[in-house]
Amino acid sequence: MIRTEELLLNVGPQHPSTHGVFRIVVKLDGEVITEATPVMGYLHRGTEKLAEQLNYTQIIPYTDRMDYVSAMTNNYVLVHAVETMMNLEIPERAEFMRLIVMELQRIASHLVWWGTYLLDIGAMSPFLYAFRDREIIINLFNELSGARLTYNYMRVGGVKWDAPPGWLDKVRDFIPYMKGKLREYDKLVSGNEIFLARIKGIGRYDAATAINYGLSGANLRCTGVDWDLRKAEPYSLYNRFEFDVPLGKNGDCYDRYVIRLEEIRQSLRILEQALEQMPSGGETMGKVPRAIRPPAGEVYVRIESPRGEIGCHIVSKGKAEPYRLKFRRPSFVNLQILPKLLVGETMTNLITILGGVDIVVGEVDC
């Protein structure tokens, strides 16, 4: 007699493809998943609770550690929220610096995604190519802020440091370099039959589902929903630049892949324009009161991080510390659709789909 039974498999918390300490409990029938339950919280550091005892400047380093692949956008969402509450004016030079580092960060973040995604799919080399190119950005940030990952670069009212001499030229040189490399990436990977067979039509959902699950970033745009906060609800200086929002049609992993690569190109376009329009000098800190005490009230601000909509909800009671600080983390929200997508897929597709969502566990758990 043949007896079959379901296999309960813990994928994670220590697993090469969960991108951190994250666990999915899957029930397998052969290699087909019948149920998947994500388990998180292994990296929960209580950032929101800690923030209630810190003043706003002190919270900035904590934001670096949430989405550690894209610390600059995290910095921005916090200082932007405080600035919104205090109605502060940011010097143009500072705002340009912020925009440039955010777009560089978007490129760096997408490169990490590209490399690790291909590693998930079993190709090792692209990972190293991506990290070679990301290294240039990391070095630029290092020169700017003295850190390679947790920059702590932005401040309420501006940025901590102006660009050192020659820094902007390095950014300028990076743009054509990166464009060339993107062509190389496409040649190496984007047309590979095995790769296409692995990601086309996998992890599919439609626009209504994506909206219902509150997905954002490439996860939303792959279904054709035109929703990029840089265009839809412009913040910073984004309405000064021309760029396109790449959209998908099928809502599968392939579309998400194409969108993210295209977003690198668009970020390069924004950088080109920003470097051109940037004032050659000026203050990097606006007029900020010595004590940063936003008036009593609350705000919710949101920006487009590489992973989607990152939001910051602050309740202030007019003190130096926030009364309540809540981050809307795109990885956390985007991940919710995972159990729905996984049912009926194989173990192999689990990795493809999970990688396609593009999560950073530091942000999922916060």
Binding site: Y300, K326, I337
Partner: protein, 332 residues
């Protein structure tokens, strides 16, 4: 297992007892923590030269600090005066008042000097201990004190005018007021006359229309907010929970991706048994967000398909984001 838990609890209690001695920073009234509240006025870590007497070993530095402290005290006093006279709500906030008072008391001596300066511009002799730079500092302090006095005078002069007019002239109506009114009207007619506790514009947040929905009408309101053609808030972007100490509040931030209209919806819940109907059947986004609020704030969401802890482990005791939560290890 249960034994372990008991032990844990006992440990917690012990810690509670010990930690209550170490007054938390937020402690509202006690006058003992003047240093803390004085320190909290200096925010930026780079500039955090707290003007406590022990800090001043170097005489030059001491004098400088003193002068700075004086000016600050003057400003604080001025502000306090303004607050007391002009803004009754601010004065009603006991925490703030206490802090300001403490700040003023901490620098009682300097305040005296300042008063002297205000009165006739007499030398603040007793303030300066160090003879070396005395003259210079005195001059600087005097100048500052004079400025502070001027400010105070201006405030004092302005205050009666403000008081007479009671509320300042109403600001121009928000551009989103019609939108808010229409939505509020619709909800009142669709759900219940009393469904909305309040509907206002949060001007600080880019004129965000905000509803405070009555707890019992929340689910019906949510359904309408998403499904009614004129409302059509299809996208739930964020769910936050806030512990206001008097009550808990759950905030849903909604947006319609097509018309780009935004709406914040707040639901208040009783603090001892907080219950808010789950919005997960309406917006799937709410699922993990509500679990997080359940986990960290203890709000239960009836109608939620899978209400378990999400960040903390399943056997965790307490809800960490509550204001009265005592951490297991207060040192951390």
């Amino acid at each position: 297992m249960s034994e372990e838990k008991d032990e844990e609890k006992q440990g917690e209690e012990a810690k509670e007892a010990s930690s209550s001695k170490e007054t938390p920073v937020e402690s509202p009234t006690s006058e003992g923590d003047t240093v803390v509240s004085a320190g909290s006025t200096t925010l930026d870590s780079e500039r955090s030269i707290v003007s406590t007497p022990e800090a001043a070993a170097d005489p030059e530095r001491e004098a400088k600090l003193k002068a700075a402290a004086e000016a600050r005290a003057a400003r604080a006093a001025a502000k306090e005066a303004a607050n007391v006279e002009g803004a009754p709500e601010a004065a009603a906030d006991p925490e703030r008042e206490a802090k300001l008072k403490a700040a003023a008391e901490a620098r009682a001596a300097r305040a005296a000097a300042k008063e002297a300066a205000n009165a006739g511009g007499a030398a603040a002799g007793d303030a300066a201990v160090d003879p070396e730079k005395e003259a210079k500092l005195k001059a600087a302090a005097e100048a500052r004190a004079a400025r502070a006095a001027a400010k105070e005078a201006a405030n004092a002069g302005g205050a009666p005018a403000g008081e007479a007019a009671e509320p300042p002239p109403p600001p121009p109506p928000s551009p989103k007021q019609p939108q808010l009114d229409a939505a509020a009207q619709l909800i009142r007619s669709l759900v219940h006359e009393e469904a909305l506790e309040d509907a206002y514009i949060n001007e600080m947040n880019g004129h965000m229309p905000t509803f405070i929905v009555k707890n019992e009408h929340w689910y019906a309101t949510a359904v309408q907010l998403k499904q009614h053609e004129e409302l059509h808030f299809s996208y739930l972007r964020n769910v936050s929970g806030v512990d206001y100490e008097t009550h808990l509040e759950v905030v849903y931030h909604l947006v319609d991706l097509e018309s780009r209209r935004e709406l914040a919806v707040k639901i208040k819940a009783d603090r001892s048994t907080p219950v808010v109907a789950s919005a997960t059947p309406v917006w799937a986004t709410a699922n993990w967000n509500e679990r997080e609020i359940y986990d960290l704030l203890g709000v239960t969401f009836p109608g939620h398909p899978d209400l378990r802890r999400i960040m903390m482990s399943d056997d965790w005791v307490g809800h960490p984001l509550r204001k009265d939560y005592e951490p297991l290890d207060s040192e951390v």
